[in-house]
Amino acid sequence: MSRAATLLVAALVLAALAAVAFGAPRLLGDYLGRVLIVICINAILVASLGIGNGFTGVFSLGHVGFVAVGAYASGILSLPASAKSAYLPDLPSWLSGWHLSFLPATIAAGVICVVLAFLVGAPLMRLSGHFVSVATLGFLIIVNVVLVNADNFTRGARTFAGVPLETTLPWALGWLALTLLVLARVAYSPKGRAWRAVREDTIAAQAIGIEVLPTRLSAFVIGAFFAGVGGSLYGHYLGSFSPAAFYFAYTFALISMLVIGGMQSLTGAVVGVLLVSLLSEALRNLERGFSLGAVTVPPLYGASQIVLGVVFILIMIFRPSGVTGDLELTLGRRR
């Protein structure tokens, strides 16, 4: 496809996205709009998780640690000054008395995560295989303990409330488009090829002159930026959260979406999120009981989790590399 045609298609897709973003709340109603927002946020998080875990082969369990840092950092930055004095009376003076609006706070959250990812990644990205998983799990635990104990900044274990509810569908879709655009550009550039080379065979990659540590670190840092952004969107979507929200349960939810969709493609990440989110929403509504003609099914709370678990097992048996494997949905040509 020629460059002009690609641009045209991209412009059309963007226009369609914009139409959906602004029209959807009116057309779909608030509830489906909310489901879409959550899907967008999770897609940002899963796609950025896939960069490290899928493309580079560094199976990190610490992604949600960055999400937590993003949510808290942007929450603290964007809390209105009056709410700061009420909720966080012990905040140091250089943080209190002013606040950022949503966009700068979100970008700041991403940047903070980048800095953190450099510090954490520099030693950890030397590790491979299971070791890096356990080490990044350690990072997640450290983040949780710090959030619980840094009372002055985070209200400790108590709910961090009062964050302005700013995450609307246009914001979420916009950030998702940006995330996918950036990740796709990098993942299918020479840099991305280096990621996959390191994943497939570290020694062979080194033999052709690819340095393992900087390559892995770059993937980890890029993933962390979007994890921070996603965390900020999540925080501004819920308005209140506590450290417990960013722990093992969320980690495994994101990882299962990634594994089910397909770890080694961005399309897989999005498909996984769509599949898991739509299925669990549909099942959640079905388990409340319904009647179809003469048949009445009573409410069976918890059935949705069981069915979802069985579906996960079936997908793993029949498509062990996820729904998409390493294939991408492209405009006419195979990468």
Partner: protein
């Protein structure tokens, strides 16, 4: 099957269809029933508190309908399982407001869940009453539509402190808290204030985290004290208290252990067993066959409906909350959110089985009596009823 783009499109369409099919099914509702939203964490970490509360609520709704309903119309609980997950809570809240159009709602036994739902109900101006989220700060944090049907943690902590100073006659305490939840940290803070105000002394403090399986470090610290505390106040979540008590007793800690309504689950006795003797906790009502007549009546009805005794006081709170809401709808004269909110705020002396509920002007936390339950010979008994004289500010 090799994955082509066509396959993938089909897969996506299938998923979308499945979702759409699920969402479009409407549950048959009784003719012109008054809907009451009822989101509860029936599954997940809070199910041991939320499920009994929901059962209590359903029981009261059935009794009201059997007696002719409210304003001549039946009431219908619109139930959602929110799975102890904040995003599911937010989605369900939106469904209640925008699809089910409920004029009022009740639900949850913890403040995290109530805070996730609160802004959505507040924005729509729909009142919400929580049977068991005991944070006294909750109504302020959410706004004019959030009500508590239970006392605040500051009240039960003060009652616990007065019970220790009075009935147990102890002046020194060791304060152990779970520092990973809002409920346990606030309860410990309020207890600290009330106990010190009443002339008691906290000799030392320690923390643990919900989910910990070993409390050796805390027990060692406690036993190393040169001055032995007369009482232990342990601010704990339901899942942990059985284990805490068991390990304390095994290590030879014989002092009374006192805590809040987080203890009020069958887990205290089933996990703690014999070790639970000499444990006391503050809660909303004494659930047993030798309690007050209204509770006994509730006890029997609950047993008949669910084949089990009420698991804890949250069952009674769920029951009372539906009664409170029905009373408010009757006084409002119409199932409209604004009118119900005003009627709720004006509630004076609603006679519930967990005590009478009155909202002081401007306050949406009721003043109620606190029951203190003790454990003797692996059985619960009513140790005291306390209306605390001094209460820490929220």
């Amino acid at each position: 099957m090799s994955l082509t783009r066509r396959n993938m499109l089909a897969l996506g369409a299938g998923a979308a269809l499945a979702a759409g099919g699920g969402l479009s099914i409407r549950r048959a509702a009784a003719a012109d029933a008054i809907k009451i939203g009822a989101p509860f964490n029936v599954t997940g970490g809070l199910s041991s508190l939320d499920a009994p509360a929901l059962n209590g609520a359903k029981l009261k709704a059935k009794e009201i309908n059997d007696a002719g309903g409210v304003l001549g119309r039946p009431i219908e609980l619109v139930i959602y399982d929110t799975k102890t997950d904040p995003t599911v809570i937010a989605s369900s809240a939106s469904q209640l407001i925008n699809q089910d159009h409920v004029p009022v709602g009740l639900g949850f036994t913890d403040s995290d869940s109530a805070l996730a739902l609160g802004p959505i109900f507040q924005q729509a101006g729909v009142p919400f009453v929580t049977p068991g989220a005991t944070s006294p700060k909750l109504p302020e944090q959410v706004g004019s539509t959030m009500f508590l049907a239970c006392f605040g943690d500051n009240v039960q902590a003060a009652a616990g402190a007065e019970f220790i100073l009075g009935k147990l006659g102890a002046k020194t305490a060791f304060l152990l808290r779970d520092n990973s939840t809002e409920y346990t940290t606030l309860l410990a803070k309020y207890f600290d204030a009330a106990f010190t105000h009443g002339g008691g002394q906290i000799l030392s403090r320690d923390d643990y985290k919900s989910g910990d399986k070993s409390f050796t470090a805390q027990i060692t610290k406690l036993k190393a004290q040169s001055r032995k505390p007369e009482v232990l106040y342990v601010s704990a979540m339901p899942d942990d208290i059985g284990l805490v008590v068991k390990q304390m007793r095994q290590a030879g800690v014989a002092q009374p252990i006192v805590g809040g309504d987080g203890y009020d689950t069958p887990l205290l006795l089933s996990v703690g067993g014999k070790a639970a003797n000499d444990v006391y906790y503050s809660t909303h009502a004494y659930m047993a066959e030798d309690s007050t007549p209204p509770i006994v009546k509730f006890f029997t009805a609950y047993k008949a409906a669910y084949n089990t005794a009420p698991e804890n006081a949250f069952a009674a709170l769920g029951y009372d909350t539906v009664g409170l809401i029905a009373d408010a709808i009757t006084r409002a004269g119409a199932p409209e959110p604004g009118k119900i909110r005003d009627a709720l705020a004006a509630t004076q002396g609603y006679k519930g089985i967990t005590g009478s509920i009155t909202y002081q002007p401007g306050s949406r936390v009721p003043q109620k009596t606190v029951s203190l339950i003790g454990v003797k010979d692996e059985k619960l008994y009513l140790a005291a009823e306390v209306t605390p004289s001094w209460i820490a500010k929220p």
